[in-house]
């Protein structure tokens, strides 16, 4: 037998090592559609209980919106369940073209190509467009999918300190010998919730003849006055060369992603990007629902406005309660605890109080930067946040972290 008992034992030991290191991830089973209030079974086998969800990427509250569901049903009826093909064989329907056109208009770019996910878009884009004559210069906190995508490219790779424009400028000057320089950044950084200074990045790109790549997955749909993304928020619409983003967060939350930007770059992705070439089409039901999402987002800014208000309100509640927050202007609000064990205990106790949040620690964030990442949604009402802050204050008080800054928390709990 090829799966020898030694192999099984070795893999079991590896799993045990993960468990012993406190890094074992367990799924929690949700017995409800995604929303502000959900029923969660955890640990597995326990009765599902109602909790307020503060950890979804459901920023606009559209994951279970009735009009989105109706559009998905209609898409299923009109265009079927699956395409049983990649795009370029027989997997492209009229609605795929329609969605790509709608995303191009929404993002203010020249063209768009759908991928099964933004992870796939990031995995394919760098290899398709750049080679060993080029250099990719990435912010050190970009998403893991970008890191993986950059690894797949033959281009030289370098990094700059997080959001440090002086350091980026040094790197741009240093790499003037390369054919193409590409600045690579997230729009909103997923773990810190801070916003890339795209206005300054674009200015540097123009001064040093570089292209700009932005992953706007945690921004599309709500950042900027009409929700187009970080480029709108920072006043650089039309000046970003490549945007990758997802339909799996604010824009409906199902799955699917895209590369959007300069026409030639998108066309080269259509010709070469392997996750596009070798993976099935985004299913019709998701395409139809995403078209409805873009229509809803274009109809009114009510949802992104409410999200902004919720984020402001939640930040204020946490600050008044005495928590140490990462500063920011996005609906990602990290509550800093620094110590990994403390973050795990606080998230566990919050769950017992009916609040669903997750503690993040190394290797997801840097060592000594453990936190609870809270995420707001337009689906949250004030009463959800008022109830959540009661639980946070109770648990924070129990652990003695209220009113403490970084140094005091580290002094008390260690790193």
């Amino acid at each position: 037998m090829a799966y020898a008992s030694e192999t099984r034992e070795r893999l079991r030991r590896e799993i045990e090592t993960i468990r012993e290191a406190g890094l074992f991830k367990e799924e929690r089973f949700i017995h409800a559609p995604q929303g502000a209030e959900i029923e969660v079974e955890f640990p597995a086998g326990e009765a599902a209980r109602p909790v307020i969800n503060l950890c979804a990427n459901n920023y606009l509250g559209l994951s279970s919106h009735p009009e989105v569901l109706a559009a998905a049903h209609a898409g299923l009826d009109r265009r079927g369940y699956g395409m049983s093909s990649v795009r370029f064989i027989c997997g492209t329907q009229d609605i795929h073209r329609e969605l790509e056109t709608a995303l191009t208009a929404f993002l203010g770019t020249e063209d768009t190509l759908l991928f099964p996910s933004c992870m796939d878009a990031n995995a394919g884009v760098f290899e398709a467009l750049f080679d060993d004559q080029d250099v990719l210069i990435a912010d050190r906190l970009v998403h893991a999918s970008i890191v993986d995508g950059m690894r797949l490219s033959k281009a030289m790779r370098d990094t700059y300190k997080h959001a440090d424009m002086g350091h980026l400028e040094e790197k741009l000057a240093e790499h003037q010998d390369r054919r193409t320089r590409v600045i690579v950044t997230d729009g909103v950084f997923s773990m810190d919730g801070d916003v890339a200074p795209l206005d300054q990045i674009v200015a540097l790109a123009e001064r040093y003849d570089a292209m700009v790549f932005v992953d706007d997955s945690h921004s599309s749909g709500f950042m900027g006055a009409t929700g187009r993304g970080t480029h709108e928020a920072k006043g650089v619409m039309g000046r970003i060369d490549i945007i990758t983003t997802t339909l799996g967060k604010a824009l409906g939350g199902a799955s699917g992603g895209c590369v959007s930007g300069r026409a030639e770059l998108v066309e080269l992705c259509r010709q070469r990007a392997r996750p596009y070439l070798f993976s099935n089409s985004v299913p019709p039901v998701i395409v139809a629902a995403a078209l409805k999402v873009l229509e809803l987002v274009g109809r009114t800014t009510e949802r992104r406005d409410k999200l902004e208000e919720n984020a402001r309100y939640w930040r204020r509640l946490l600050t008044e309660a005495g928590f140490d927050l990462k500063a920011g202007e996005s609906p990602i609000v990290p509550v800093m605890l620094y110590n990994a064990k403390l973050a795990q205990e606080v998230s566990r106790d919050l769950f017992a109080e009916g609040i669903y949040v997750v503690g993040f620690f190394f290797p997801v964030v840097a060592k000594g930067q453990a936190r609870i990442r809270t995420q707001l949604s337009a689906a949250h009402e004030k009463h959800h946040l008022d109830r959540a802050i009661e639980a946070f204050a109770k648990v924070g008080s129990r652990h003695g972290v209220l009113g403490l800054g970084r140094d005091e928390i580290v002094a008390r709990f260690g790193l």
């Binding site: 990435a138 790779r157 370098d158 990094t159 240093e174």
Partner: protein
Amino acid sequence: MNELQKLVRDYVVREYLEEGDTRTIDLDTPLISGGIVDSFSMVSLKRFLEKKCALQIPDAEATPAAFDSVRSIVDLVARLGGKGPAG
């Protein structure tokens, strides 16, 4: 520390430690396995050494193990016949 060791140490501190990071870097501080330098960021260190020490570091030699401490980096430079700080 000799001149080359100091040069490498100072570069690592300037290039990889964030403001407010009080960690000290000595000859044997693990840089890559210690999470101070990631594999992407090694590029800038390699280019810095090539420029400062007037040598070429073949990709096969630019391994995470070879770049894991100030000592191993300086050993690598010596092995490849680097000329020491070129100003």
